[in-house]
Amino acid sequence: MSEPGNIALQTSNLQVGFTTGNQNLFLFEPLSIQLVKGELVCFMGTNGIGKTTLLKTLAGIHIPFSGFITRNQSVAIVLTDKISGSLMTVRDLVTYGRYPYLNWWLTLSQRDHELIDHAIRLVHLESIAGKQLHQLSDGQLQMAMIAKALAQDANILLLDEPTAHLDLNNRVEIMNLLRRLARDAGKTILVATHELDLALQTADRIWLATPDQKIVTGIPEDLVLNGTFDQVFQLKGFDLKTGKIQHTPFRKVSVNLSGAGPEFLWTKNALQRNGYEVANDATLKVSVSSLHGMVSFYLETDKQTQQLSSIEELLIALRALTD
């Protein structure tokens, strides 16, 4: 745990939830939890467990039943809410980030303009700053929403599933950006996300909402090794400790694979995906070699050796030998 001076946000006995009809629905046990300055925290948990409501409560836009939130710094939030005003440009949207500091006539100072430009540069949207929102892709819109939050110049950023519905490239880009902001700009960032793999590789700390309405916090690696993740997600067929999908060697054929580098790794992946077991003591030998950028695969049995030029050919040859 860290010294008190480093804490950006802290809750004590916070009771979060909402009222439906006459009933108060409590989402979590009373929470006493903290965010440390400059840390990127991923907040994980199954759908509907209350991640969004907790984020909104921490941002002060949802009122808790009881308890306290101590935060010395301003908070900017990025939600999944749909926004209207599709005729506004990316720059107009980022300008919203300055609203807390503007008068009723929305007069922008030189510094406001600079902060807006800076936010747009950080998310690499300079080339489409003049585009209207309805012309953007989902990923670009998400980046623009993040730029808006950055223009708010808040020290704490709360993001609700910023990578949902995006392709791998955009997801990695957003997580890398958040990483950079935490490390270089000293922002405190809390991201609610379902992206287990990305969270494990980027987060400084994980908040994990458990089914018994608690939030377990810790370093990602610790939570993997002590089995907390398995408890929460009840992972089916995904081996968290190796970070791979589990394959069953259904062909009952073992292959002795040798080689190096990415060629070796991807050949191994292909073999396992196709139901071969990769073992050192197998009689069937496959070796991968790369020479001057040319990759060759050799399939060796007691009787013969075949040279093949792609993994696809290798798999066909293997199937011909063993079936």
Binding site: I77, L87, Q152
Partner: protein, 336 residues
Amino acid sequence: MNKTSSGLVLLIFAFGLGALFLINISLGSVSLSLPEILNGLFSKTGMASEILWQFRLPKALTCILAGSALATGGLLMQTLFRNPMAGPDVLGLTSGASLFVAVLLMASHYSGLLLIQSSWSVAIAAGMGGALVFLLIINIARYVRDNTALLIVGLMISAATSSIVSVLQFTSQADDLQTFMIWMLGSVGSTNWSELLVLAIMVGVGLAISIALIKDLNGLLLGEAYALNLGINTKRARVIIVITTGMMVGAITAFCGPIAFVGLAVPHLVRLFMPTSDHKILLPAVMLGGAVLLLCCDILAQLPGSTQVLPLNAITSLIGAPVVIWMVIKTKRISV
């Protein structure tokens, strides 16, 4: 949309408004030329002066006030409810007003009370009806949390009041029914200077408040959660927007009857001319645009060269609807 080009469009709108104002007061059963108009405006004697000061000027000014107020009300409602289908009458104000006017014109016969059916009594009835529905809506707005729920409540109130009005129409006498139907068709030609003064004050205050709300209105486009995060007091903004719209629309409905279409269509037409979501540009454009559209419709309603005057509501929708359809087809999209 950059600042200079939007400024240019605003300037064109303003010039258009001036030109249409002159055309509007020159046309009628007696056509007046520009020198006659100038002479009539300043001399205060003679026939031209009589026509201008008694009929044409109040009517043209009412057009401008009603057009601005209804169009602004429409924009405020579309932004508040983040719904392109919203218009100034979604709060049920117009229905409340028509209910009370219907009671005044058609049921006074049964009650045995001899109500005086002057233009003021109709205005007061309409104002009371609008205000009552409005108080109801305001109170409901304090309890329901989201804006869509408020929209549904407004529509339900409209449905309920229209059914009472239908019953009244069904049981009323032919003469009363016709008086009511004529009121329902909307008119800008029956306001005198004292009524115009009341109208001008209420609309003027409403428009001024709308301008003061620019930041809140822009913020509401992002939805309540984002607006709150940007430091906008959404609860207060919502109440002020509802009160402002209610006041402007109530005043117009009281004196001119329920004028259809302008409030719904003008914000869309304006956005098609100047594609922006910024209320700093939209609000003045919508105010000018509403006035321009209603002046146009009134010119057409007078059937140039004839003494016949067509009902205003028939013209606003007949001319406006195809224009909006055409522009929507042309740009293929509509937005808030």
